[in-house]
């Protein structure tokens, strides 16, 4: 289990416990966090689960694999700390992770 904090566009913090092995995207969908639609269901094909990872966490989580950066070209306002939340797998190591959701996605 890891505690993940999702910050929505209205600056509200949603803290949820997410099971290991699920993705940060699945944690959001299962807990009805607005702004993470995940239209393609985790296939790295739509960029609707795009999040900004809090700076100090960005280098701690596993790196992007091929294809994710390409898909991020399609996301709304990508930044250097952008990730697709469907590609971040939850484990004890990321307990306390904070991600924020771009306002345009809501």
């Amino acid at each position: 289990m890891a505690k993940i904090t999702y910050i929505t566009h209205d600056n509200q913090k949603h803290e949820v416990e997410v099971q290991n092995g699920l993705t940060v995207m699945e944690g959001a969908v299962q807990n009805d966090i607005p702004g993470i639609d995940a239209d393609c269901g985790g296939g790295m094909a739509c960029a609707t689960c795009h999040v900004y990872v809090k700076e100090d966490w960005f280098n701690k989580i596993p790196k992007k694999e091929d294809g994710e950066e390409d898909m991020l070209d399609m996301a709304f306002e990508p930044k250097t700390n952008s990730r697709l939340s469907c590609q971040i797998v939850v484990s004890d190591e990321i307990d306390g992770l904070e991600v924020s959701i771009p306002s345009k996605q809501a």
């Binding site: 239209d39 393609c40 296939g43 960029a47 070209d73 399609m74 990508p78 250097t80 345009k104």
Partner: protein, 339 residues
């Protein structure tokens, strides 16, 4: 006005197989899709990605699956209305009156929504001011390249569409190409060409920049682009083109009086009918307890919805269940010889 037994919205795998099932049981149907080609998400999102869970097909790509489904429809005459989006659905006596954005209208007792996650729309620029110039001097696709002749065009994006248009328009226009990072993801030959044209001064390349704002009163005058390090650059430009791929929007379906929850439509599991009689939803867009978003589930849902259509399209006939292996009628419809 086109009269048909059933209208299918969406030409993805589920829509295609539903059309097959309708024709097999002797009903006619027409198919509408907003995209310019058949195949839905399979062809738009993952044509080259392998799929491993289609029954009896150990491995195939999205494109192969689409081609096989099209082949399976070969015996039948089915009209596809591509590049058209269904806008209005209205009850008229016992039929549904359906209108598309191109003005095509249908009268049918059965509407089957096989719309995936909605229709594909171009992904737009974030700054709100951009809307003001949309379809005047800011576009998400090119319909007539002649309007750009001799003008300055600023192209945003890093994929094949952006690169191809940058190369093409550099022949007769002044081109700015703006992309959020140094790497492009198009065909290598095109990327090389863009870099060569940039070296020759035919394309002004701005990487690690994104759109900040558009300026101009009546007409577009210039744009501000913002570097990753927050530096702002102002570019004089006549036109802006944005190529950020497609996004899925539920679109007008949301206004048809259906029970919708989180972009999906609630259906029963006997007929896959919605809360409106004669409107069905199948595939990724439908929702019921235990729903799995798999292509194989869409096939099952379409087969059952097709049988439900029979009742409304042929109220005075009784539907008889038959196997393709043994039914003479079905073999005739398929144009194959009986034993």
């Amino acid at each position: 006005m086109i009269k048909t037994d059933a209208l299918i919205i969406g030409a993805g795998p589920t829509g295609l197989f539903t059309a097959h099932q309708l024709k097999l049981i002797g009903l006619n149907c027409e198919v509408v899709d907003n995209l310019d080609k058949i195949g839905g998400q399979c062809i738009e999102l993952y044509p080259d990605k392998p799929i491993y869970d289609i029954p009896a097909v150990p491995e195939c790509t999205g494109e192969e699956l689409t081609n096989n489904l099209i082949n399976q429809l070969k015996p039948f005459d089915i009209k596809f209305h591509l590049n058209e989006r269904v806008e209005k659905v209205k009850k008229e006596n016992d039929n549904w009156l359906v209108k598309t954005n191109n003005g095509t209208s249908f009268s049918t007792p059965n509407v089957i929504i096989a719309g995936g996650v909605g229709s594909f729309e171009p992904r737009k620029f974030s700054p709100q001011e951009c809307e003001k110039f949309e379809n005047k001097s800011l576009f998400y696709s090119v319909k007539d390249k002649k309007i750009f002749k001799g003008k300055t065009v600023s192209i945003f994006g890093g994929g094949d569409s952006a690169l191809d248009w940058a190369v093409e328009l550099s022949k007769e226009c002044s081109v700015n190409l703006i992309h959020r990072r140094d790497e492009f993801r198009g065909a290598q030959a095109t990327i090389d060409k863009v870099h060569q044209l940039a070296k020759d001064g035919k394309i002004n390349l701005f990487t690690q920049y994104q759109m900040a704002t558009v300026k101009g009163d009546k007409n577009l005058e210039s744009i501000d682009i913002k570097h990753d390090n927050n530096e702002i650059k102002n570019l004089k430009t006549d036109y802006v083109l944005g190529f950020f791929g497609l996004i899925m929007q539920l679109g007008p379906i949301a206004n048809w009086g259906l029970n919708i929850d989180k972009k999906t439509i609630e259906v029963d599991t006997e007929k896959f009918e919605t809360n409106q009689k004669g409107i069905y939803a199948v595939g990724d867009i439908c929702n019921y307890p235990g729903k799995l978003k798999l292509i194989l589930s869409g096939f099952h849902e379409g087969a059952l919805a097709a049988r439900a259509c029979f009742k409304l399209a042929r109220p005075n006939e009784k539907y008889r269940f038959e196997f393709t292996t043994s039914s003479k009628t079905i073999k005739e419809r398929l144009g194959v010889k009986g034993d």
